[in-house]
């Protein structure tokens, strides 16, 4: 997993410690801790994982092993507007791949990457559960249904 280096501010460190504390520094709660930390920072840089490891008294290699196991966790900051294309089966048979290709083409990034200006990041997810609207695209929290490759431009326009 590629990652970026960051310098954590004092209050960031305090925040991570506080999160660990709410879970009683219990190593069994590692995944819950990581969820909280990611929702606070938006991603899980190495520095955050190191503090979590120290607080929960587990090897940082193990924290990293867990972070890289679950696709929900990321070590890369997401774009300002994270785009997720549902690649569940229902969306797939209704053309999600072509929609994804169009996003890749227009943004000129591949899945898991962020545009150089930090505006959009592109990702895939498996089944939002809105199969009636397939293919589905999410930008941030907003769901777009029945998206066609032609509609991609219009979606992106909303965020310009």
């Amino acid at each position: 997993m590629s990652h970026v280096k960051v310098e954590l501010k004092k209050e960031d460190v305090a925040k991570i410690k506080e999160i660990c504390k709410t879970f009683h520094n219990n190593p069994g709660e590692l995944i819950n801790v990581l969820h909280k930390a990611q929702s606070f920072f938006g991603y899980l840089p190495a520095e955050v994982q190191e503090i979590v490891a120290v607080e929960l008294n587990i090897p940082v290699a193990k924290v990293y092993g867990v972070v890289t196991f679950y696709s929900f966790f990321t070590m890369l900051p997401k774009g300002q507007h994270p785009i997720s294309i549902c690649t569940g089966t229902a969306c797939y048979v209704r053309g999600a791949e072509k929609v994804l290709d169009e996003f890749k083409r227009i943004l000129n990034v591949s899945v898991g990457e962020t545009t150089p200006d930090g505006k959009f990041s592109l990702g895939c997810l498996r089944c939002v559960g809105a199969c009636g609207l397939a293919p589905v695209v999410m930008v941030g929290e907003k769901v777009y249904g029945r998206v066609s490759p032609d509609g991609v431009k219009d979606i992106l326009k909303e965020y310009e």
Binding site: Y70, F73, C127, G129, C131
Partner: protein, 591 residues
């Protein structure tokens, strides 16, 4: 009076628009346009017999109506009040005409047990659940005792709805017999099958049924703690479940001394983080313990050594949702529903190229045909049915010849698919089955935990072989390798993921072998899906030489003089499709 005309895609394709028009004009002719209103409705879900016209308030149901029938319906039914018998639905069993849709077979195809409260109650209000007999089952269980309840569960014949179909009562009995100072009840809500969302719908629509069932489970096996392992990607379900837990605590339905029974039980949430393999119970347990969600060899089963090494019973959301009703209505009631070895109902997320995409619940033993054509309303856009995929990445693609198979655990397994968690994806003639198999393998490769070699490497190799075939680089030996590799992966993988991941390959090899052969020997994709096997060709007759295609080609693969037919250099063409879009003369086609 109202006349409801089906406006579903299927019926519309058979001229229901025209029916609305002719009905309106007939009514106008009779001067009744103000008394009778013609309404276009959503799909009735009976496209085989479409177009449908239903007359309210007497509920008369006309099938296979044509615009030409409008005059007769208006003249006879509306004016004279006599039903048009020839258009009524004929019962296939006794050949009798049935006029009231309430008495028609297909309307009884669905039976909502697990979904009984979904779309009926407000999930954020415990009182609405209580008003519908909520939490009475737990009261009854306290009176019956744990042993008797487990007996009831066994007698009901309920099997795990997460995919494997293990008898729930038996699972409870094993967990109850293992002694320990602490036991756990776990609800598996990590619905990872891409294309299944029934568990999410239940948690969003009826969270208390799961809470009540987990409490019952806890009482039966002697566990005081429950954990729900839920996908972090389901924020609404998490929110509603948390509200429900809080309300249940407030009403004393969770916590200490529930209903004065002396039994304590409480529930905590644990979040999944996006790993399909965590649907496997040992992997799920490791994930709850803060570890990588890798499965471990069974035995020991969770019932002996599960969460934190304690006896643990894991059931999924849908299984739990069935339980309060079984307790209240009795095992006999439940076991009367369904097929011989699979009792009760199953919820399916019906999706894909079908008209009525949605969440359905049918008794076990319902046929695929009934689900697809009568409930699902048939194939979208009037296309031809090709395959139905059940069981998600663990299941297989079934075809025309399987349509009359009654759906249950054993039948689906016998035809090379499986129940799985209940995804049901319908595919039409435009879907390439090699690509579909490749799609599922891509999923498995991404979701394999990597612990055992057959799954970690084997699925990757299967995917590579499929990739070669869809690119037209496959050989007949590759097809044999696909089959052998699939069998070995199934036979030797550590957990359920690997043991089922080749099913999409094997079932498509079995049912669509010709399609594979076409990719290999003719280098052709019969469904026209595989990009590498397509060629863009300009029809020399139709092309007028407008140059629009050549100007829009991103790689300059099109040449030709103005006003003269153009030609595509297929060695340069990247098959982006831009030329087809720009051609106003339909001169470009894919071959």
């Amino acid at each position: 009076m109202h006349m409801l005309v089906c406006g579903g895609t299927g019926c519309r394709a058979s001229a229901s628009d025209a029916i609305v028009e002719t009905l309106n004009s007939e009514l106008a002719a009779k001067g009744m346009e103000n008394e009778v209103q013609v309404i276009m409705t959503g799909c009735f879900g009976f496209c085989e017999k479409g177009p449908i016209v239903k007359i309210l308030p007497d509920n008369t149901f006309y099938t296979q109506v044509t615009p030409a029938d409008s005059a007769e319906i208006v003249a006879e039914h509306i004016v004279k009040g006599r039903k048009v018998n020839r258009l009524l639905y004929t019962d296939p069993e006794n050949k009798e005409h049935i006029s009231d849709s309430k008495h028609m077979g297909f309307y009884k195809k669905q039976l909502r047990i697990a979904l009984r409260n979904c779309g009926v109650i407000n999930p954020e209000n415990v009182e609405e659940y209580i008003a519908r007999d909520g939490y009475q089952a737990i009261g009854k269980v306290f009176e019956m005792g744990a042993q008797a309840t487990i007996e009831q569960m066994k007698k009901s014949g309920l099997r795990g709805r997460g995919g494997g179909g293990f008898p729930t009562g038996l699972k409870w009995e094993i967990a109850s017999k293992n002694h320990a100072d602490q036991k756990y009840v776990v609800c598996n809500a990590d619905e990872g099958d891409p294309g299944a969302f029934m568990d999410r719908s239940i948690l969003e629509g009826d969270p208390h049924s799961v809470i009540e069932a987990m409490t019952i489970n806890g009482f039966c096996i002697g566990a005081t703690k429950g954990l729900v392992y839920i996908r972090a990607e389901y924020p609404l379900a998490i929110k509603r479940l948390q509200i429900a837990i809080d309300q249940a605590r407030e009403y004393g339905l969770l916590g200490k001394d529930i209903l004065g029974s002396g039994f304590d039980f409480d529930i905590e949430l644990r979040y999944g983080a996006g790993a399909f393999v965590c649907g496997e119970e040992t992997a799920l347990i490791h994930s709850m313990e803060g570890e990588r969600g890798e499965p471990t060899v069974k035995p020991p089963f969770p019932a002996e050594s599960g969460y934190l090494g304690k006896p643990t019973n894991v059931n999924n959301v849908e299984t739990f949702a069935n339980i309060p009703v079984i307790i209240l209505k009795g095992a006999e009631w439940f076991s009367a529903i369904g097929s011989e070895k699979s009792k009760g109902t199953k919820v399916f997320a019906l999706a894909g190229k079908i008209n009525n995409v949605g969440l359905i619940e049918v008794p076990m033993g319902t046929t695929l045909r009934e689900v697809i054509y009568e409930i699902g309303g048939g194939i979208k856009n009037g296309k031809k049915f090709k395959a139905v995929q059940t069981g998600g990445p663990s299941g297989g693609c079934l075809t025309e010849k399987h349509l009359d198979t009654p759906i249950d655990y054993d039948n689906l397994l016998a035809v090379g698919s499986m129940m799985g968690s209940g995804g049901m994806i319908v595919m039409d003639e435009d879907d390439c089955m090699v690509s579909v198999a490749k799609f599922y393998l891509e999923f498995t490769v991404e979701e394999s935990c990597g612990k055992c070699s057959p799954c970690r490497i084997g699925n990757k190799r299967l995917h590579e072989l499929l990739e070669r075939i869809t690119k037209g680089e496959g050989t007949m030996e590759d097809l044999d390798r696909l089959r052998n590799l699939s069998h070995v992966i199934k036979d030797s993988s550590l957990c359920g993921l690997g043991q089922t991941s080749p099913n999409p390959v094997l079932s498509t090899l079995d049912n669509f072998y010709d399609e594979y052969v076409a990719h290999v020997t003719e280098r052709k994709c019969p469904a026209g899906q595989c990009k590498s096997l397509m060629q863009y060709v300009i029809d020399q007759e139709a092309c007028v030489g407008c140059t629009a295609c050549a100007r829009n080609c991103p790689v300059n693969a099109i040449a030709g003089d103005r006003k003269k037919p153009h030609v595509i250099d297929t060695s340069i063409c990247i098959k982006c499709g831009a030329c087809i879009e720009k051609c106003k003369f339909n001169a470009i086609s894919i071959q």
